[in-house]
Amino acid sequence: MKKILAVFLAVSMLLGLTVTALAEDTVALLVWVGDDADQAWINGVIDNFKAANPTTTFDIKVGIQSESTAKATVLTDITAAADVFTFADDQLGELVNAGALQPVSLNVEDVIARNVGGSVAASTVDGTLYAYPATADNGYFMFYNKEYFTEEDVMSMDAMLAKAAAAGKKVSMEMSGGWYMYSSFAGAGLTMRLLPDGVNNECNWNATDTPIKGVDVAQAMLDIAGNSGFVNQGDGEFVTGVKDGTVIAGINGVWNANTASEAWGDNYAATKLPTYTAAGQQVQMASFAGYKLVGVNAYSANVGWAMIFADFMTNEQSQVSRFALRGQGPSNIAAGESPEVQASPAIVALAEQNPYATTQRVGGNYWGPAASFGAIIYGGNADGTDLQTLLDNMVAGITAPVQ
């Protein structure tokens, strides 16, 4: 109840603020970036933007809002959210569904042409471009320590686990979470995706009539989980493990690249995900391709200028400086071709994984049931429940209509 009241007060306050803002000639914009460390970069972008538009007076303020939770904050009260905000591409569907995103209506062809196809697809719903691609590095891949693995080893999970077990070390992955767990099922050709309604899911992970059945994948995961060379870790634990040397390889993302390269030094390497054994065959692990996108609030009072700024914030110049200052891989084609970008192992690994990656379009009901299933499998299915039953329950939860 307090929440609703707070929202109500915030709305009335905002109405008051907009009225005063309208009375002035300056264009006021609030921009949310993902991390405090982005400040230097975004301030540079703002200076360049002002220089490029000398005839208009701007009042651009910067706020910090993590990309991974931007949706939650925006949807709590769209009218109080920033005019321009950065978010992870998996949130696009729900943001569009709630009407929070302004369709890109200025300079559309250029935005589409200058970014890699995957990032444009990840910004598009029903043929309408809803966001500006900002980075193409939000997916995951395999980190490894060359001291323990050869380039041959990292092609297959089995070999990696065997080596790690022999060395008394661990290969890390978050199995009890929907994001990474997706790689096993999708790799085996099973599907889980968002329905056209933008909210509910379609999922056949419990299929019994596919070349590799759902139960085969579950059994394979169970085998991996039971291997003494494997450990299930969240992001924070992975960092701890890499630092203290217990983890010598792991599936994770660009955001931990620095940690790994600092800990392993010259032995730091990265590549695409390995294959694993399901139903007697080698299956390439799939992944979610991840992009960071910049969205414009459909309720912004200066929606046109907000679009022009978002466009500027994601152009080649801004993405180059973003890579230089923050190490984030560009979605801009020209920026991505620079030798500096091509020299980053993490970004090369992402490119190698790209053929097996799908855009992350997932309804909210996916995460809970998927995480629960992963946790049961990692716990070794202690109750001994029939795997098909576990799969059926998970699919029922994932596909349960949002109600």
Binding site: F8, A72, A298, A301, N302, G364
Partner: protein, 525 residues
């Protein structure tokens, strides 16, 4: 209305019956006022101030009429648009077209379901208030009329008496006495200044409480009513305002809460979460209560040295903000946390495996990731956080126990345990009973401990719970939080909120009735 049919058990008559009777008599009064009132009273139905003008209360008449005019002009403009759509909660969806010339969106005149719900409710409350005022107003002007007519009658009588006296030349003193008696029967009709004076004297409570009551209405009752209303709508992720609309769905959400199928598992989750909520509330309250008192007694014991130091040491846990210590503790007890590292190297982890407390498959102790371990840990950590508070309270009480009672008990040969059981404990219980009741209710809604210790750490292995976004360690209130914060399921959260309210209310009323009876004090003496 006089109640002629007063029965011997009148006092125990059912509350609903009594409310009904009051309502009937209220409206009957209104119709009698109208029937007996003169033209001006009836005119007050249309012009609220008419009756006051007729009786010479000009300022009051102007004020009342001005208020009426304000409401009648303001209402159709500001509130009626919302009230008229209250039945559907809006039908026009937002549609925006970008204008590249002005660089602005051109937006249609769309309906905002939540605003309609909120201001529609305000509008309905205002109508109710106006009707109440209208009826009360008629009664007031009718009262004025009666007073006025009465005064006139007495005045006439006095004139008559005076005339008679003049004709008959009667005793002046006798006349004066009679006139005095009559005069005493007249009632002065208040002038405006009298009314103002009254607000500072006889009706001072109105002056004092108007603002707080308005505040309570606006900041407590209104949001509460809105939240209750949301439970009867389909306000969720697929119906998010302001872009989408939501509407009334009757009792559907309450049905969902008690439904159990493979896709809808709210019924199952509700049962699980509710039972853990109650178990938690019981243990969290009584562990803190008992151990807090024991700790206070140990420190208060005559043989304990450095009492102040001990007390300070325990109070330090209060000085550190709770959420900081909870997040730290969460990291200590993580699967790869410091406690697990120490336990593994000292051999406790293996020992637990040997005695069968820990399954062989675990390489660590799942302090906060296994349902049973996590529940025990949460209660233990809560003790560490809560005991110092209870110790503080108990210390104060212990110092207040009259030492002569304990002294005489000792002289009579009571040992320490006996005097604790017969004197100290009843005394503490008597003083802390209200605290105990409120802390059980507070623990039912104890969000911090559960959420901060298990968020991002605990993943449920119960698929039925997972399918309705619940976990084994969830209290109703943390479940509610996750439903709103992560899944925007406002309607189900609102239903659960109502259930929490009912549980807390019933529990509190019962507990107060049992624990805090009027005769407790005498019994203690």
């Amino acid at each position: 209305m006089q109640s002629q049919q007063t029965t011997p058990n009148h006092g125990k008559k059912h509350a609903i019956v009594r409310v009904g009777q009051a309502l009937i008599s209220f409206f009957a009064q209104f119709f009698r006022d109208l029937r007996d009132g003169d033209l001006w009273v009836r005119l007050s139905l249309v012009v609220f101030g008419a009756g006051y003008f007729r009786r010479g209360q000009i300022v009051k008449g102007i004020l009342v009429t001005a208020l009426q005019a304000f409401v009648f002009i303001f209402y159709p403009i500001a509130l009626w648009p919302y009230v008229s759509k209250f039945g559907t909660l809006g039908t026009v969806k937002r549609a925006a077209v970008f204008n590249p010339v002005t660089l602005k969106n051109e937006v249609n005149d769309f309906d905002h379901s939540f605003m309609i719900l909120l201001f529609g409710l305000v509008g309905i409350l205002v109508i109710a208030a106006v009707v109440l005022f209208w009826i009360k107003n008629i009664h007031a002007v009718r009262g004025l009329q009666i007073t006025d007519e009465n005064n006139r009658k007495i005045l006439q009588e006095m004139e008559k008496l005076e005339q008679l006296a003049r004709q008959n030349g009667a005793d002046a003193q006798e006349l004066h006495r009679k006139m005095q008696v009559l005069k005493a029967n007249t009632k002065r009709i208040n002038r405006f200044s009298d009314d103002i004076c009254n607000l500072f004297n006889r009706k001072f409570h109105i002056t004092l409480l108007t603002l707080p009551s308005l505040g309570v209405m606006l900041f407590t009752i209104l949001p509460l009513l809105v939240m209750i209303c949301v439970a009867f709508t389909n306000y969720d992720q697929t119906h998010m305002v302001p872009t989408n609309l939501f509407t009334w769905v009757g009792l559907n959400n309450f049905k969902t809460l008690f439904t159990q199928s493979q896709t809808i598992t709210f019924g199952y989750s509700f049962g699980r979460v509710l039972s853990w909520t109650l178990i938690w509330a019981f243990f969290a309250t009584f562990t803190n209560f008992i151990f807090g008192i024991l700790l206070a007694m140990f420190i208060n014991n005559r043989k304990t040295h450095w009492k102040r130091m001990w007390r300070t040491l325990f109070i330090i846990t209060i000085a550190v903000p709770q959420f900081v210590s909870l997040l730290l503790v969460r990291n200590f007890f993580a699967n790869t946390g410091i406690v697990n590292t120490i336990f593994a190297s000292v051999g406790i982890t293996d020992f637990l495996k040997q005695i069968g407390l820990l399954s062989q498959s675990y390489a660590y102790i799942p302090f906060l990731t296994d349902p049973v371990w996590a529940k025990v840990m949460i209660i233990l950590i809560n003790m560490w956080i809560g005991i110092p508070y209870m110790m503080l309270i108990a210390t104060g009480i212990l110092m207040n126990i009259p030492s002569d009672i304990l002294e005489s008990a000792r002289i009579d040969g009571a040992n320490a345990f006996q005097s604790f059981r017969k004197i100290t404990m009843p005394y503490i219980l008597f003083v802390t009973a209200p605290y105990l009741v409120t802390s059980i209710t507070a623990n039912i809604n104890n969000f911090n401990v559960i959420y901060l210790l298990t968020n991002d750490v605990f993943v449920t292995k119960d698929q039925l719970l997972a399918n309705s976004n619940a976990q084994e360690v969830d209290l109703l209130v943390t479940w509610l939080y996750r439903l709103t914060q992560n899944y925007y399921n406002y309607k189900m959260a609102s239903v659960i909120g109502i259930v929490i309210f009912i549980i807390s209310a019933v529990f509190t009323v019962l507990a107060f009735r049992i624990l805090i009876r009027g005769d407790r004090e005498e019994r203690f003496q």
